[in-house]
């Protein structure tokens, strides 16, 4: 099939876009058992802040390459401010409540942040495209791809590798994994779970904001991008297995490739391809592809 290379490239591009967002979501769930609906709003905040900052930077005549640094800094700032604010200011009071209640808390937060973003940045879409075109284009057969798209892939791989290294090789990472595995036991052995939560949520927020910041130059940042992204992220995280890093990667690839194939061969089914995949995976592997085996407590 002549379109196959395109299907794969498009699928991988889509997957890397979603991976950065999904990995933060799965990390937060794995450690804190919270399915963070507000993750989408953090993505949106990251995108808006990055676009605005980069636009400001570029319109003041600074070096265009610096706009990339501005994007990354914006994401960091959003994550570092919003993360602790939300975790310490709100979530901290809700631990111990039912999982579903926590989901609703994050849903309420999502509603609040939607309007907050609107108040801060207005309703007009923001378009700052210069960083997208700066790196030139890559020719693949008949198709042309901006090099920037592959920056997203590189970022996704970097994030994945970095997280994997941190989780597996560093002490902090092992502490995190301990908490993912068994919260009660971790507290019993003296781990400061509360601080682990703060760190995890902040990292998750930064990742969401990073996803938004990196995507911002490729699209028009408008109200509603948070809601769009969150359902996709949920699907990927559930497919991959909640709390599993590798699962988020595989889930993202699966969803990305299926969607890409649908778009190329059968566009009418594109709309539900994601949900069908999710339903099928859950039917075959009820807890997702790479879920940690749960110890059954009697």
């Amino acid at each position: 099939m002549g379109q196959l290379p395109a299907v794969i490239v498009d699928g991988v591009l889509y997957a890397s876009w979603m991976f950065v967002i999904a990995v933060g979501l799965t990390l937060i769930y794995g450690v804190m058992k919270i399915l963070n609906v507000a993750h989408g709003s953090l993505y949106a905040l990251g995108a808006y802040t990055a676009s605005t900052a980069a636009g400001y930077w570029l319109s003041h005549g600074h070096a265009p390459m610096g706009s990339y640094v501005v994007l990354l800094l914006a994401a960091l700032v959003v994550g570092l401010i919003a993360g602790p604010l939300i975790e310490r200011g709100l979530l901290r009071f809700m631990y111990g409540r039912d999982e579903i209640v926590l989901v609703l808390v994050t849903y309420a937060l999502f509603l609040i942040l939607e309007d907050f973003t609107k108040l801060l940045f207005g309703v007009d879409p923001i378009l700052v495209a210069e960083p997208y075109g700066l790196l030139g284009n890559l020719q693949m057969g008949r198709l042309i791809y901006p090099v920037y798209s592959f920056v997203l892939v590189a970022a996704a791989i970097l994030v994945g590798v970095a997280l994997a290294l941190v989780l597996n090789r560093t002490r902090q990472g092992k502490i995190l994994r301990a908490v993912i595995h068994d919260r009660e036991m971790s507290t019993a052995v003296g781990i400061n779970v509360s601080r682990v939560y703060l760190v995890t949520f902040t990292i998750g927020a930064m990742l969401a904001a990073l996803g938004g910041a990196l995507t911002a130059p490729t699209t028009s940042v408008q109200p509603g991008i948070g809601a769009e992204v969150i359902v996709l992220a949920f699907a990927i995280v559930v497919v991959g297995g909640l709390g599993s890093l590798g699962g988020a990667a595989v889930g993202a690839l699966l969803v990305g490739l299926v969607r890409s194939a649908a778009v190329h061969y059968q566009p009418e089914v594109e709309l539900f391809s994601v949900y069908v995949v999710m339903a099928l995976v859950l039917i075959i592997r009820p807890k997702g592809l790479f879920a940690a085996p749960e110890v059954r407590k009697i």
Partner: protein, 451 residues
Amino acid sequence: MKHRLLRLARAAALIALCASTTSIMAEEAKPIRIGFVTFLSGPAAGPFGVPAKLAAEAIVASINAGKAPAPHNTKGFGGAPVELVVIDEAGGATKQVSEYRNLVERSDVDFVIGYISSGDCLAVAPVAEEMKKLTVLFDCGTPRIFEEASYKYVFRTRPHATMDAVGAALYLTEQQKNIKTFAGINQNYAWGQDSWNDFTAAMSVLKPEAKITTSQMPKFGAGQYGAEISALIDSQSDVIHSSLWGGDLEAFMLQAVPRELFKSSRLVLVAGEPYLVRLGTSIPDGTIVGARGTHGVFAPASPLNNWLTEIYKAKAEGVIPTYPAYSAASAILGLKAAYEKAKITKLSASIPMGANKGVKEEMEKAYQVGPSQEEIIAAFEKLTFDSPSGKVRMTLGKGHQAVAGTAYGTTKLVNGAVTVVNIKEYPAERVQPPDGVASPDWIKGGMKPAK
């Protein structure tokens, strides 16, 4: 002789009263409350909802001060000042039905103007009918409103979306003789689906040999079109049809232009006019662009058009009005025209023949009360009025649905700025079905111009 004198006296009194509008009415006029429903949140707010609201507010302020050009130069509606009660169209059709009831019963509005989303229009129309409240739909596109039902209390002052698709097909086939293949990328919801279906139906009549290569239907709000663009490039189509709007259109253009999709494919943007300013030079030369009517850059030069541009720019910090602003203008001015026509009819009917005492009191009474809903409806049906977009004729839907012509043009970069050249206008009869004929049938039947 006496008869004729009486008639003259009656006419003179009428003229005198009309001329002394302000002096009588200034203190006693009850303000007319108009509920205005438009998107203040969500993706439709930026491109459509907020421009419509700004235009409505600017227009109402201007007509209350009597500053609109003739024939709309009376203050307010027939002398009575107008107040807007603006509510957000967000929340979905079910919520909007409840909000409509609240607007009418609790906010006590006299009229309702609103609705950009076709779903909301379809849901609200029967409720307006049930509550007997004159409602003017100002922007939604679906032809279904008056093709599937008839309404007494509901009016729409802009033509429906069939006009956009047919106009696009007509212009395209006239501009480009050699079309072997075409593709589409439209948002996967009613507007996108209808646009594509109407366009393909029109193309099958105008250019039956053209083949459809691919129809991409990304989710509304998707924002990332990488795979769709690859598929479109791969299809090597001569023409790409798109009814994308808002941030989705901007994202699509942003992603498609550097990938050189438009080197080999010509783009048709059915609702592209608002983006001429925003996307500017990134719109490829030769793109066919429409404004869903003779709005914005396609609007005929007229005092009304200048007026709208001026007051909108003043309100919107220098931004020029785009088609939602023009839709709002048509709705408000149409209602105003109908109101004033009804008022004059009522006034002349109120002057009793053969009486020369109590005439002024009778007229004042008629004047203060204002025309009733039924009287305004009677005036609105089959009305022709002037708007910044040109003449609007309420001829379809038994006099409730507006027709007007449309126009399309081609973009061209001139001295670094994007302009629209080769503008062609299409009169209403060529782009809209006659009364009583459903749009899909009319297109399939060859789009014979209505008489």
